[in-house]
Amino acid sequence: MASLVPCPHCGSRPKEEFTIKGAALRRPAPDAPADAWLRYVYERANPRGRHEEYWHHTSGCRRWLVVTRDTASHEIEACRDAALTSAGGRA
């Protein structure tokens, strides 16, 4: 994907409606060591292929989504509400 995003709440919508944050990483626990925070804030696997990332349907339902997308083909595999995914705090 990258022309249209299949928002689980609104259906397929043009990319222009979304804000992209980047890799959907789990935020470390408050007491996690410094290198865990370094990995979270700065280091990226940057895979060629399957990639989980945060997209915000800014001009739509305003939900944060976790989009599973192939960075080489741009094909979307899944698109879920961030609050309901493992990447989100709930899980």
Binding site: S3, L4, P30, V41, Y42, D81, A82, G88
Partner: protein, 987 residues
Amino acid sequence: MTSYRLASGGLVDRQSSLRFSFDGRSFAGYSGDSLASALLANGQRLAGRSFKYHRPRGILTAGAAEPNALVTVGRGGRTEPNTRATMQELYDGLEARSQNRWPSLGFDIGSLNGLLSPFLGAGFYYKTFMWPAHLWERLYEPFVRRAAGLGRATYEADPDTYEKCWAHCDLLVVGAGATGLAAALAAGRAGARVVLVDEHPIPGGGLLSDSATIDGIAAPDFARQAVAELATMPNVEVLVRTTAFGWYDDNVFGAVERVQKNIRQPSASAPVERLWRIVARRALLATGAEERPLVFGGNDRPGVMMASAARAYLNRYGVAFGRTAGVFTTNDAGYALARDLEAAGVDVAAVVDTRADTNFAWTGKARVIPGAFVSDALGGKSLSGIRVWKDGATETIAVDALAMSGGFNPVIHLACHRGGKPVWSDEHAAFLAPPRLKGLALAGAAAGRAGIAVCLEDGVAAAASILSELGFAARPAKLGEVAGDIVAGPTPPVWRVPGVTGKAFVDFQNDVTSKDIGLAVQEGYGHVELAKRYTTNGMATDQGKLSNVNAIGLLAEARGVSPAEIGTTTFRPFYTPVSFGALTGAAHGHHFQPARKSPLHGWAARHGARFVETGLWYRSSWFPRAGETTWRESVDREARNVRQNVGLCDVSMLGKIELCGADVAEFLNRVYCNAFAKLPVGKARYGLMLREDGMIFDDGTTSRIGESRFYMTTTTALAAGVMNHLEFCAQALWPELDVQLSSVTDEWAQMAVAGPKSRLVLQKIVDDDISNDAFPFLAAREVSLFGGQLHGRLFRISFSGELAYELAVPAGYGESVGDALMEAGQEHGIQPYGVEALTVLRIEKGHITHSEINGTVVPADLGLGRMVSSAKPDFIGKHMLSREGLTATDRPQLVGVEPLDPRTSFRSGAHILAKGAAATLENDQGYVTSSCFSPHVGSTIGLALVKRGAERHGEEILVWNGLRGEFTPGRLRDPVFLDPEGERLHA
């Protein structure tokens, strides 16, 4: 000039004659003509000049691939360079001018380059023009730039309008030839949402130029009938004059519709072009095939034309491309043309067929020469004859026109836009589309098939399989019986013609010859991509539609490999060039971006506000009064009046967010670096948000207006960013917290009422007691106004450092409340003040904005280190703050700056140097983040971020502005210039 228009035939309307001009000469044509067909009909062969050698060029094609006949049409703001005469519909009053020639098309000085051609081979410019170095820009390059380029664009603004549109469909069919029409009919009849696009004004594609019949109906009439049926289907949309130019992710296609390019004076009530974004569940490319030129000497001479083009001019436009024609072909297409030419009474001197074993049953008059080649086209600005080479012997035949056909390249352009690589097929002697494309199929000639009957079948079959995938029941379609179709099947390609003496062109527009391709290989640029870049083959406005495959063939020969091993260069949008106008639509001028207006905009306008763009907002900047000649006078007055009496400022554009839920206090505690958990109801608190990397993100005040209801204000600049961030925190990071967010920026008109007399003014409209005891600093409560007529929210907060309040009322009431405050404040000298005065007031108090919060500062840098809670286990940004670089002593810190001599001044963006230090980057101490003239201090003052600034108060420095040549001795000091104890605040 004698006419080449045939007495009859063609799809032009001979009843409606159109006048047009070319290079100032007036001509006549018919409705239904293209500019090219009209020029040919008038015997005007010379249509343009080539890019490098300025060779005379005629019309080579009848379609989108035209490399030669590029003209400039229109005038003034409607001037359109590089228009393909073959695609430009003729209209009455059309003005066309030839390009890239001086002084005239007939006599072009630039053609002297041709004489120098031995020294201007591929890449020659990489090897010279280097000495002496300074002469490249001064002498060589200006010459190169003038010589290069094609048409001249206008500097005038475009008077016409453009539009964009989205369409959603089950099936998009690109190309309305036999294949596309058959597919669209099948899908339309099955009830699918269908969009059929075709770049020509009349659907039909090749059918329009064919002399075959289908069920006894002439091919063009068959097309007309098919289109008529499609028009009756509510689920089918046929877009003519519409070019699909790109295939993008998720089967989104870009297409451009030329709504009014066939009219001299476009109607102002419609766009000239419309951009379509077509979202297709499935797409079918029925884009046909492009005929392949043959590479022989002088193959660019005016009078030499593609065979399919000659046939189109003959059958579709009723124009003969010559009087005595020759045909040079590798396949049976040449015979189809020869047959039709003779039927129309045009002499065909010879059909030169490269196949020694041709078994075509030719029954016409023309002499057929098998196993022969046209080695050279002879003549000057116009063709006079051809030299035919057969088994080493040559003979010259007099012709005034030559048609060539080197086989066919399926038009697979769009199919390759998403990374798939074309595959060479020996069977088809051509490159075919990449296999296994998602959501996209090809059929007919685009899939390498030939013949009307086959294409009709293929279109129906392709549609049927797509329909079944989508769950539509396809009805069996009856196919017509085709008669009189000469099918040009695949034949072995001919890359290099024997016996050539003259220049043999591969890329016509860019003057790339077969020799240049050889030179590229010889010099190590043999990779197809390097050869392209080194020779510029395929980089002209036709993007190699005619030249690429021949170049690949020649590379393959030179390297002794198959075209399969060479591969193609990358196909990319745009299939044909698309205008800025179409891609912009209506979003230009003042609509480039939307305008956002405060609910107090009208109020401010009535008080004479000067507005300034701030993001998308229009903010009142200052309010000039009669007699004030400079903005500074107004701003000084407004600022003074706030400190002396009272001022009213529109702060509605601050971001405002309402937070509801049981866990909001905890939530705020995590998003702000300072403590919020225990904020009591009825109180406001200043908060600092960090990014996860520890840098300050934004600041603002948040008030608790109920046990589980908070009202947050953000800066104007980051209002949207903060909302997105909070939603991220609430939804992605901590969904377990009960927090709900609603942006109320537009719900409330918010006014800052600031100054020693602000309470007196407010109390006149506020019903509640707002005395210092009842409503102390940082109080935040709902209040009743005008005796209960209205309720608003009142906050005792101050950006100016004065006794001040911010009053929020429902937006619709904003103006009347603003008026009421002005009326109530009259006796106290109230005046509106704008963002400029606001800036003065905040700088005097050392208050920060995003001038200081520049994305690279941590709280301690701004003297706010104490705000960072050490007690909280977690908040956004906590964990990165402790890095060595963020706690180092040499970090920039916020200070005030003042000039040593109050009569001197400095500006924001000036840098700070230690006194007496040399002006070098190494000595750079920091820079002035904000500055203004302070009417209260009586001089320019500023805030700055300076290395170790906090410990340097009192140090004399130089405010260095080399950019403006301003060097101001100054002194660092505490950033608070006024009322350091904050007594006025608590008055």
